[in-house]
């Protein structure tokens, strides 16, 4: 495994450089993980990426002993000086003490815009790593001729040590946010609605860029309240709808989340967590909205909460979210975070294979339609206004089968019970949708959810006697499946990117299992293998 840290100011193209490098490596058949770290500003500050690659799958980054440190400014050298080793190759600007030094004047000499400085760095890194020029060039070519010249200048500054060999592996390189966008497209999304909020915004951009190709609508409305209510309106009228936001925006949406519960209008929400409370640390990661996602909204109503651990899961779970929302007329929350959303991962195509086939479950042929028909499984058939000769209703009030307001205790009870039965049928349905995944074998168990998957995978390679129980569906909670795995474990450790261990609380609530053994990280940074390994042994 090798690692490269690329750092510089916001605006210097740090994230782009790392992504291009990652793409070239994946093209050669390597598995790449690309971690992105950036503060909340547009120009200046300190941005860095850590690119890790290996012949075997790798899902997490490191925080020290990089093979290469590429510093596009002095601050990168200062901040990361204690993280490098004697063997770290330093690539710096001219006169800054690097093993390879880059003279920015080269750009002026060759009449290349100064913005391409990062591409010279990319050339030097790629050449040193042994990435064939032609491969790197093919990745950079979409950026134009001047950047190919800059790349060449970088290659000329050093010599290849060992040329990397190309394998025949077909791999995908993408972020969690991109996977959620693609999952929505594969689900047949009709309308995506959002208000910008980090770290969910990339999904808005990603889907907006592809709206004409796939013929759907992307709307940015005046606030998250408008976003979610418009989504319910559109879904009521028969569209496949998703909204995306982070904790603060989701807080604004909760009034309408409860409206979803009563109206039973299908709704998919992508909730990308970031460090809270409140504005918190807006461009950094956390897993501290689990209980919020599970409990948001007044009153009692069923919902689905899915927690993907990597882009392949993000893609599949987005499809599951649409499917369950439409079939059960419920809320589905895809609970991601900044780490999953903005890091690049490497996958094979078959890892994306969906568990469901997209369907809207809309009934158009009906003898006598009732919007809230009382049924055995609690699911009232879904229809849409304008399509049938019957009134199609959605309502925030308690109602009878037609959707007419009621305050009659007998009818209220029947409707509450109808929604409870839907909860039951939903709990049965998710049993076939991989509610829990177990990796490795052992009498000790790590329990976790969401974006900690990758780093726990990488940690597992160094552990013996441990298995990893990953909870994929957090609502309805798969108590039976979880208990089966944890009941006779000698040690159970909960790992979570939060300060209080919300999964522990949920486990206690749903299974009665008390898990005091927790590894928590709450400095707004994701876990690394070293971090978990130290805490597990200490």
């Amino acid at each position: 495994m090798r690692s490269i840290l690329i750092g510089g100011k916001a605006g210097q193209g740090i994230a782009k450089t790392a992504e291009l490098l990652g793409k070239a490596l994946v093209k050669l058949g390597y598995h790449v993980f690309n971690y992105r770290d950036y503060p909340s500003l547009i120009r200046g500050g300190h941005n860095f990426n850590v690119v890790v690659f290996d012949k075997k799958p790798v899902y997490s980054h490191v925080e020290r002993n990089y093979d290469i440190l590429a510093a596009l400014d002095d601050r990168t050298l200062d901040v990361h000086s204690h993280e490098i080793s004697s063997t770290t190759l330093r690539i710096t600007l001219k006169g800054h003490g690097g093993d390879i030094e880059i003279d920015p004047l080269l750009l002026r000499k060759h009449n290349i815009p100064f913005l391409s400085l990062n591409i010279i760095f990319l050339g030097a890194i790629a050449c040193h790593l042994g990435i064939p020029f032609e491969v790197m060039k093919s990745v950079v070519s979409s950026l134009g001729e001047k950047n190919i010249q800059a790349l060449k200048l970088g290659y000329n500054l050093t010599k290849e040590e060992n040329r990397l060999k190309k394998s025949n592996k077909k791999l995908l390189f993408l972020t969690g946010n991109e996977a959620i966008g693609l999952g929505a497209i594969a689900s047949g999304i009709d309308i995506y609605i959002a208000y910008p909020m980090t770290p969910a915004t990339p999904v808005l951009h990603f889907l907006a860029a592809r709206k004409n190709k796939y013929n759907y609508t992307v709307l940015q409305l005046e606030n998250e309240i408008a976003v979610v209510n418009a989504a319910l309106g559109a879904s009521y009228a028969g569209a496949n709808v998703m909204v995306g936001t982070s904790g603060g925006g989701f807080a604004l949406m909760t009034e309408a989340i409860s409206l979803q519960g009563m109206s039973e209008v299908p709704l998919v929400v992508y909730l990308a967590q970031r460090t809270g409370p409140s504005t918190g640390v807006p461009t950094y990661t956390a897993q501290s909205d689990l209980l919020f996602a599970i409990h948001a909204g007044h009153g009692e109503f069923p919902r689905v909460v899915l927690a993907p651990g990597d882009p392949a899961e993000a893609f599949r779970m987005t499809m599951t979210a649409f499917y369950l929302s439409n079939k059960f007329r419920v809320l589905s929350i895809i609970l991601g975070d900044k780490h999953l959303g903005e890091s690049h991962y490497t996958h094979t195509l078959d890892e994306f294979s969906p568990l469901v086939k997209p369907e809207k479950f809309i009934t158009l042929e009906t003898e006598d339609y009732k919007s809230y028909k009382i049924t055995e499984n609690g699911i009232s058939p879904r229809s849409v206004p304008g399509a049938i000769p019957f009134a199609v209703r959605a309502t925030s009030y308690e109602h009878d089968e037609e959707g007419i307001t009621t305050e009659d205790p007998h009818m209220i009870e029947k409707m509450v019970e109808k929604r409870l039965r839907k909860w039951e049928s939903l709990s049965v349905a998710v049993k076939n949708l991989e509610p829990v995944s177990v990796y490795g074998e052992g009498d000790k168990a790590i329990v976790s959810w969401g974006s900690t998957k990758g780093v726990i995978f990488d940690t597992l390679k160094r552990l013996e006697g441990w298995k990893f129980v990953k909870i994929n569906i957090l609502a309805p909670f798969p108590s039976e499946e979880v208990l089966k795995e944890l009941d006779d474990a000698k040690r159970v450790v909960v790992i979570e990117n939060s300060a209080t261990g919300q999964l522990s609380k949920l486990l206690a609530m749903k299974t009665g299992l008390i898990t005091d053994d927790k590894i928590l990280r709450y400095d707004a940074r994701p876990f690394t293998v070293d971090y978990i390994f130290r805490r597990l042994r200490g």
Partner: protein
Amino acid sequence: MRLDPKRLDTYAENTWCPGCGNFGILTAVKRAITELVEEGYDIKNFVTVTGIGCHAKIYDYLNLNGFYSIHGRVLPTAIGIKMANPELKVIGFAGDGDTYAEGISHFVHTCRYNPDITFLVHNNQVFALTTGQATPTSEKGYKGKSTPDGKWEEPLNPLVLALEAGATFVARGYAYDVPHLTYLIKEGIKHRGFAFIDIIQPCVTFHNITPYVKDRLYKLEEIGHDSTNFYEALRRAREWRYDLDPSAKIPIGIFYRTERKTFEEGYERDIPYYKVVRQIDWRKVLEEKLT
């Protein structure tokens, strides 16, 4: 229930106070829809959206498609419906508390967006269902349960706000003048764009200003008002400031009417999404990320 233009009532018990102006609005809406169906509109395509408050009970009293939404959120809900299916004739009903307090941001932006929907505000200048508190359009001096010493701020003039925010159809009706209100609602539904009708609907229980209003009303149609003239519309809208000024005159009718691109047209939507069949191969979708 089967949709039937001859049967626009439901079995729901009407719980408005006796003499409530909402009865006038309900009658006008039913007449407007009956006449529009006679003119060729499809009863299937009407959708009502309501907020929360006395006005919203109209959802229960109309045998039409409907979304009983939440307080203040009628407009985004209506926009969502229209975006999903531009063939639908969406009629939003809201109260003055709904629109000018809780939902004011949606109101301003909807005027700006210009979706092709009709929006009726049942403006009784009071929170009635919560038993009588001041709203943004209550007059200065209004004594409600939350303002025992009298409201001291100036009221909001929603017509002026709508005009400045870019609404393409701005009108005012009177709940007890059913034929005139029927005319306004029909014109509003026929208008291509955001049609906003503020309806003076005196609350018989908590804000009965009927005697003040009825003596001061006049119809813009009867004085040769030019509804294509924005500044003339603004001047007329400023004639009454939602107060109890004894010298004021209260114009009703269409203040302003213009055309511009609608919200849905801006997004090039013309097919209902429920009719769109998508055959998507998940492998193909992922191809762009294969290196």
